[in-house]
Every structure is written in structure tokens, then in C-alpha cells.
């Protein structure tokens, strides 16, 4: 086991595309570290550089104490799980698991013992004699995980391993991966574009955008105080409401007169945007205390909650998360008020968190 240090990583392809602009990461030993971002943000390239499948243009990668820049993938002592599983199609499950061990030249008895152990851990017993095409997607991914396990690597690299599974199976495998990582305590770097996956799995999350790290933090930090407007819009579903605000008489006011609790230390000399989570707003009867007049544009019933889209005279409609017991019809005249603590506030031009 080992931590992973990525310093000033930059990757530019021969055709001129820059996949990674500048990435610094410090992944701790035994951590489940998630890299999250939209497609093309550089997360997969960064992961492949750690694996040794891509050579970075500049920058250093250390696994444990070893500088691995010039080591081929096989000598980095890591295992990787791929989006398309990449099980060798002509080999049975058992041989797929044994393959990396045989490639290492381990004695037969040792190979068998390790394969059996991994099979037990991932409950693959009945599948050992099947070929990949006889397995379902979920089973293939479990085999792929087991194949990563048998090598007892210093770190696991996961490249969107659950993307190809259906929703139910994905949730199940998420729990399984979480459990497995906790049990083995192995460092794991997990790449995904799915924020739910990132929030539920990661000890820490790095949000990448256009080849740069926008924010690194625990799921809670990332959710509560997104470091930039990009992160604010990316994390959370429905996303944060981004409301243009100004400071007046020690108060923070949005368009349409919506009053927000001001955070301390606000700069006054520039345009500001407040990021307000849908659950930090409330739809009330019209004229309720501290509320501004608003109108329900639409409502989505999700069973346990309702997402209201509300027009309060601002530039954009806002989304409000309400318990399903509070019901307003579409087009109803209502009130809107802020209920949470001080929101995150961003500089309109730099798009970064200022307070």
C-alpha cells in the first residue's frame, strides 16, 4: 500500500490537444480518492498517466516513495479496473484471474490460493468456469474487480467501472466497492462523471474541469462550499441556485428582493453571485414573514419530495426542494424565502469563492 503524489502534471498530445493543463494531487495511503468531472476534463488521462498507460508531457508521479515516471505499467505495482471490464474473452473466469499472477511467474500453488481467495471475496465460485461472454455485466465487473484484487497491488485505479451497469446494479456494486476498500484498506483512485457515485464513495473528491483541479475536499465540504461556480453547478441534483446578489445595509439581497443571510467578510467592490442549495429555500404562502412574492412555474413530484421551479422576478428561476406534504399548484402565487445559514458567495468575474 502506498499514497500517490501527482505534481504539476501536464499532458499534451502530439496533435496539439491538451488533456491535462496542470494537476497536483496528493492521495493518502489507504484513501478512496475520487476524481470527478465532465467528459474531457482530464480525469481519465490523469488516471492513465498514474497507471503508466500514457506518458505525461511534464510533471512527476510518485507511488509510495518511488518516482514512476519512466516505469512501464507492469512495474508500478498497481491494478486497474476498466469501464468495459477488459476481461480476456478467450479465457475462463479462473484463468482471467490467474492471468496476471502467471505473467508475474508465481508458483502454481500460490496462484491457486490467491485466485480462490479473490473468488471467495467477490463471491465468484459458480462463475469460475465460465467465459466472459457467458457472464452478465455485473458479473463481469465483479470478475474484473477480483482480477485487480489477486495482484495485491499498492493501489487500485478505477476508470468509471460502473458506468455500463444498470441503475440497480450500480448501487449494489457501489456498496460492494465501498465495503471492499474499507476491508482491504488499499489506496483507491476512482474516476467518475457521476456525482452521486463520487459523493457516496469518496473519502475525498477532486473536481476537475478543463484539465485543472477546481476543488479537493471531503464530500461534505464539496457540497456545502463549492470552490467555484463550476463546482457549484456540477455537484448536487438539482444544482445550486446561482443568484446575483448585492450588499446593502449589511444585508445580502438578490434580485426580486430576496434576502439572504450574509457571510462575514464580503467584498463590496465587485459583482457577486450567491450559491443557494434548493433545500436552503422555502416556498411559503404569499405574504409570509420575510418572504418575497413569487410564482410556481412547475413542480416535479419525486415521491418523497417535490422540486418547485419558482419565478421570483430574478434573472433565472430558482429551484426549491420541499417535503411532499407541502403542495402548491402550478402557477400559484406564493412566497419565497431563504431559510439556511449564510450561502457561499462567488466573484462574478473570477467565478471563485470569496466568502
Amino acid at each position: 500500500m502506498a499514497g500517490i503524489e501527482v505534481t504539476a502534471l501536464h499532458k499534451r498530445y502530439p496533435d496539439g490537444t491538451v488533456a491535462v493543463e496542470h494537476v497536483d494531487l496528493s492521495i493518502r495511503d489507504g484513501e478512496l480518492f475520487v476524481m470527478l468531472g465532465p467528459s474531457g476534463c482530464g480525469k481519465t488521462t490523469t488516471l492513465r498517466a498514474i497507471a503508466g498507460l500514457e506518458r505525461q508531457t511534464t510533471g512527476d508521479i510518485r507511488i509510495g516513495d518511488t518516482l514512476v515516471n519512466d516505469l512501464p505499467p507492469a512495474e508500478r505495482d498497481i491494478a486497474m479496473v476498466f469501464q468495459f471490464y477488459a476481461l480476456y474473452p478467450h479465457l475462463r473466469t479462473r484463468d482471467n484471474l490467474a492471468f496476471p499472477l502467471r505473467a508475474e511467474g508465481l508458483p502454481k500453488a500460490e496462484v491457486r490460493a490467491r485466485v480462490d481467495e479473490a473468488a471467495r471475496l467477490m463471491r465468484l465460485g459458480p462463475l469460475l468456469d465460465r467465459r466472459p461472454r457467458q457472464l452478465s455485466g455485473g458479473e463481469q465487473q465483479r470478475v474484473a474487480l477480483a482480477r485487480a484484487l489477486v495482484r495485491r497491488p499498492r493501489a487500485f485505479l478505477m476508470d468509471e467501472p460502473l458506468t455500463n451497469l444498470d441503475a440497480e446494479l450500480r448501487a449494489e456494486m457501489r456498496t460492494e466497492i465501498n465495503h471492499l476498500q474499507g476491508e482491504l484498506g488499499t489506496t483507491m483512485v476512482y474516476v467518475t462523471h457521476d456525482q452521486v457515485e463520487a459523493m457516496s464513495l469518496g473519502h475525498r473528491i477532486a473536481i476537475l474541469n478543463k484539465g485543472r483541479v477546481e476543488q479537493i475536499g471531503t464530500p461534505l465540504e464539496v457540497y456545502d462550499r463549492p470552490a467555484s461556480l463550476f463546482c457549484a453547478a456540477f455537484i448536487g441534483s438539482p444544482p445550486m441556485n446561482l443568484i446575483e446578489v448585492e450588499v446593502a445595509d449589511g444585508k445580502l439581497r438578490g434580485q426580486g428582493g430576496l434576502g439572504l443571510t450574509p457571510p462575514p467578510g464580503l467584498p463590496r467592490d465587485r459583482g457577486l453571485i450567491a450559491g443557494v442549495r434548493p433545500e436552503a429555500l422555502e416556498v411559503t404562502d404569499p405574504g409570509a414573514h420575510r418572504s418575497v412574492p413569487a410564482r410556481v412555474v412547475s413542480a416535479e413530484w419525486l415521491g418523497d419530495e417535490i422540486i418547485y421551479v419558482v419565478d421570483h422576478g430574478g434573472r433565472h428561476d430558482v429551484r426549491v426542494r420541499m417535503p411532499s406534504t407541502v403542495r402548491f399548484a402550478a402557477d400559484a402565487n406564493v412566497g419565497l424565502r431563504h431559510t439556511g445559514g449564510a450561502p457561499a458567495v462567488y466573484d462574478m468575474s473570477t467565478e471563485e469563492l470569496v466568502a
Binding site: D15, P72, M80, A86, H90
Partner: protein
């Protein structure tokens, strides 16, 4: 209702039969002519069924006419150029599929563009070049020119097949301790076999059928391939149509047999990628 469905089927079969007869008549006529005595070939009205069957023309193809050398040349030239094009084209296709290459699109377009003009346009310059470097009237000359025409085709067709094989197999193999080339050879290549078979058959058919370069660049009977040799049978004071037909049948057979043998791969090859993985 039932009648109309039936009537439709009958109509379809009838129309398809007419189409089949029109399409296949020249082929049938060629086969018939190859089996007729010379006097029956010229009979008026033509004898469709009531002629004496003879295999003399087929014997002549292999024994007295000297065409067997031409067939052997065709096998050598078509075979060698197909193998060369495949050996050069498949790794190139792999590289274009897997690696970020500078100006990849432009390079691929350039490769394809060599196929834009009809070969006959360049045959005179090539003739002059070949004469200068001494490749005129040699099997090697034909092999090289056919390879040059087949490599672009192979690269384009194979790139499609390589694109369909997930690169993750190679990534996984590299993590398991193989080099990039070993990973390609051991994991990607076996999965490409249907595609290679389909591509090679097309390349083989091109080289086998090629006429323009063969007739311009070769002159002696020892080097000539079958298409110009068969064409050479026509044009004397008398034309032995039976021999022409028999040699044409012999010429057409290998391609038919080969295509039949790999038909599964051909279908797999042509429809690969039709299904989302």
C-alpha cells in the same frame, strides 16, 4: 387476405427469377460454351441443351495453351500482394486507431486520396518509372503496384475493425506485464481475424482481377497474369471461344471458392459494429 399475401409472394418469386436469369445468363452461357464442341459453339440456332458435352477445352487450358503459367503467375502475384498489403496495412491501421498522431485526419485522407483517381491515369508514368528501374515485365513489379493499391484500402477497412476492439484489452495486458506490441499481438490481433479475412478477400479479388496494369507492365508469357493472357486469346485469325470460356471459368472459380469459404467472416466483418456493445 391470405390469397393476396400468397399472390404477392408468387409475384416476388417471379420477378426475382427474371432478374436472376438476366444476371446469370452470361455466366451460364460462358459455362455452356466451355463445355461445347467447337462446331456447336457456332451453331445457328444456338444449341441450349442438346449439345455434346466435352472437357477438351478444360484440358487445353492446363495442357496445350500455356495458360497454366498465367494462372500460376496470377496466384503468385495476387497472393503475395495481398499478404504484403495485410502485413503492412493491419499494424498501420492499429496505429492510426490507437495513437494520437499529428494531423491524423489529413494523413488518413491522403492515404485514401491515392485511390481517388482511376489507375489507368497513372499507368504511363508508372510504365516509364518501371522501365527506368527495371521492374518492367516482372512479377515483383506487379506485386509492388498491387500492394500500393491495396494498402490504403486495407488501412481504411482495418481501422474500422480495430476501432471496434476496446483498447482496454491492451491496457489490461500492459498492466499485466506485456509490452504494447505483445499486447496487440496476443489480444487484439486474434479478435481482428474476421476483419482481416474480409479485408484480405477484397484485396485478393482486386489483385486477381486487375487488368490495366497487368497488360501495360508485362509482355512475356512467362510473367503475364491470367487476365491479359485470356484477353490475348481473342484477336487472332480464329478465336477458340471454347478455350476462352473454359479459361474464364477456371479464372473465376478460385475467387468464388475463397469467398465461399470465408463467407461467415465476410458477413461478420461487414456487419461488425452494427450492434452497440
Amino acid at each position: 387476405m391470405r390469397f393476396s399475401v400468397r399472390g404477392r409472394a408468387v409475384l416476388e418469386v417471379a420477378l426475382l427469377s427474371v432478374l436472376a436469369v438476366v444476371m446469370l445468363f452470361p455466366v451460364l452461357w460462358m459455362i455452356e460454351t466451355s463445355l461445347k464442341e467447337n462446331r456447336d459453339v457456332y451453331a445457328v440456332p444456338a444449341k441450349l441443351f442438346n449439345f455434346d458435352v466435352t472437357l477438351d477445352h478444360y484440358r487445353d487450358v492446363f495442357v496445350s495453351s500455356g495458360l497454366s503459367v498465367a494462372f500460376l503467375n496470377s496466384v503468385i502475384v495476387a497472393g503475395a500482394s495481398t499478404v504484403l498489403a495485410t502485413v503492412l496495412g493491419v499494424p498501420a491501421a492499429w496505429a492510426y486507431s490507437r495513437f494520437a498522431v499529428k494531423a491524423k485526419k489529413d494523413q488518413l485522407f491522403f492515404i485514401l486520396s491515392t485511390r481517388f483517381m482511376p489507375p489507368v491515369v497513372v499507368v504511363i508514368p508508372i510504365f516509364l518509372m518501371y522501365r527506368y528501374i527495371g521492374l518492367i515485365d516482372s512479377a515483383l513489379g506487379l506485386i509492388l503496384i498491387y500492394t500500393a493499391f491495396n494498402v490504403p484500402f486495407t488501412i481504411w477497412m482495418m481501422k474500422g475493425f480495430v476501432d471496434e476492439v476496446p483498447a482496454e484489452y491492451e491496457d489490461a495486458a500492459m498492466l499485466d506485464g506485456y509490452t504494447r506490441l505483445q499486447a496487440f499481438r496476443k489480444f487484439t490481433l486474434p479478435l481482428l481475424v474476421p476483419g482481416i479475412a474480409a479485408t484480405a478477400v477484397f484485396a485478393l479479388i482486386f489483385s486477381w482481377n486487375e487488368f490495366v496494369f497487368a497488360i501495360f507492365l508485362t509482355s512475356s508469357d512467362e510473367v503475364r497474369t491470367a487476365p491479359p493472357a485470356i484477353a490475348g486469346l481473342i484477336g487472332g485469325t480464329t478465336v477458340d471461344w471454347g478455350l476462352v470460356a473454359a479459361s474464364s471459368v477456371v479464372f473465376a472459380l478460385p475467387v468464388l471458392i475463397f469467398a465461399y469459404l470465408v463467407r461467415k467472416h465476410l458477413v461478420a466483418g461487414v456487419t461488425l459494429g452494427a450492434v452497440r456493445r
